[in-house]
């Protein structure tokens, strides 16, 4: 019983790690904040 | 000579006529675009023969000067012997960031060991265009027909 619980916890932790790591790796297209506030033109 | 012809050939000692093993790969010196050594065997037991100890490469066998020419790979050679860097199967990447597929064969001069050309399924790149060899790719100078 205890072993089953521990195994499940390990699996959950592994899945969580993979999901979090995939998210940390996910990229985007970032636009720099304009140096002066307000309009960029 | 094509590398795929040489791969699998027996390595025979000139001094004793003993077969010392079979060619399983090559170590390339990217700076001078030359085969630096031949690999015998695979895995932990892999050995190498320096090109200077090779007396002849023919269509039947590779002949080396003497049995003792077969030695342990150095650290540099181990990148090839250990499989970090691929020769056949290595990715050809232009210095403009476009991949040209995987190496299917390498043509080389059987006397000097100098590379002549690198061949993929679709393209033959002269060895003079080779800029570096790494675990990720063989980087070659972009051809004229490649977009800027």
């Amino acid at each position: 019983m205890l072993i089953a619980v521990i195994l499940i916890l390990i699996v959950v932790a592994l899945v969580a790690f993979v999901v979090i790591q995939r998210r940390r790796r996910a990229g985007g297209i970032i636009v720099a904040k304009p140096k002066r506030g307000g309009s960029s033109q | 000579m094509l590398l795929t012809t040489t791969l699998g050939e027996n390595v025979v000692s000139k001094a004793t006529a003993d077969t010392l093993g079979a060619v399983t790969g090559v170590v390339v010196d990217a700076k001078v675009r030359t085969i630096a050594a031949l690999q015998l065997g695979k895995g932990r037991k892999a050995k190498v023969v320096g090109w200077s100890d090779v007396s002849g490469v023919g269509s039947a066998a590779v002949v080396v000067e003497r049995d003792e020419a077969v030695r342990e790979p150095s650290d540099d050679e181990h990148r090839y012997v250990g499989g970090d860097v691929s020769v056949i199967g290595g990715l050809v990447l232009s210095d403009r960031g476009n991949a040209h597929g995987k190496i299917v064969d390498v043509e080389y001069d059987e006397v000097s060991g100098a590379l002549v050309s690198i061949r993929t399924a679709s393209l033959t790149v002269p060895a003079a265009a080779l800029r570096s060899i790494g675990a990720f790719a063989w980087v070659v100078a972009a051809g004229d027909n490649e977009p800027a």
Partner: protein
């Protein structure tokens, strides 16, 4: 206009490869650009490998040798190890400003669609426009990707892309006709704009 147009999202995940060593040094994480300068500033990086995390180092566009279909090429490893403080500062204050998914709004308050990509001329590092999915009301091509040249945009924030009302004639639905649309639009701008 000449050169090689790429979609910015095509660069996400490309390996960064050293010309000197043939080694892959990192993977591209974010593409960072300036809307003011309409220029690519550089990239944030991930370590290589399926489960490897982000890298602290960034890659400034000035240190990029070439951008191709399959890799971002740099001269040597120094390109990703040296300090690029200016770019790090930009990333620190702008990392949440992802333009993908931004609403495209006219200055008249109309919504035209959603930003799905940014178009880059990779040999110069110029940002030349935005790709969007148009709302059904926009035009006959609703549902197909549309392109707006960057001179036809006013500002972008990470939540919205602001464009002037009346921008529709300069919107194109294919990349090949896009260069001409950019030139056409520039020709309409007042001198010195």
């Amino acid at each position: 206009m000449s050169g090689l147009l790429f979609r910015a999202t095509d660069l996400n995940g490309l390996p960064v490869v050293s010309i000197d060593s043939g080694e892959a040094l990192a993977d591209v994480k974010d593409i960072v650009y300036s809307a003011e300068k309409s220029a690519l500033l550089g990239f944030t990086l991930n370590k290589r490998g399926f489960l490897a995390g982000p890298m602290k180092n960034v890659l400034a566009y000035a240190d990029v040798a070439a951008i191709g279909r399959d890799a971002v090429m740099v001269k040597s490893e120094a390109a990703v190890t040296k300090k690029a403080d200016a770019l790090v500062a930009v990333v620190d204050e702008s990392s949440a400003r992802n333009v993908i998914g931004n609403d495209v709004l006219t200055d008249g308050g109309q919504r035209l669609g959603t930003v799905i990509d940014v178009v880059i001329e990779v040999t110069s590092g110029d940002i030349v426009g935005y790709e969007l999915t148009g709302d059904a009301t926009l035009q006959a091509h609703a549902g197909r990707p549309l392109l707006i040249p960057i001179p036809a945009t006013l500002a972008v924030s990470g939540t919205a892309l602001m464009v002037p009302a009346g921008v529709e004639p300069f919107i194109r639905d294919d990349l090949s006709g896009f260069g001409a649309a950019v030139d056409e639009f520039r020709a309409q701008l007042p001198e010195g704009a």
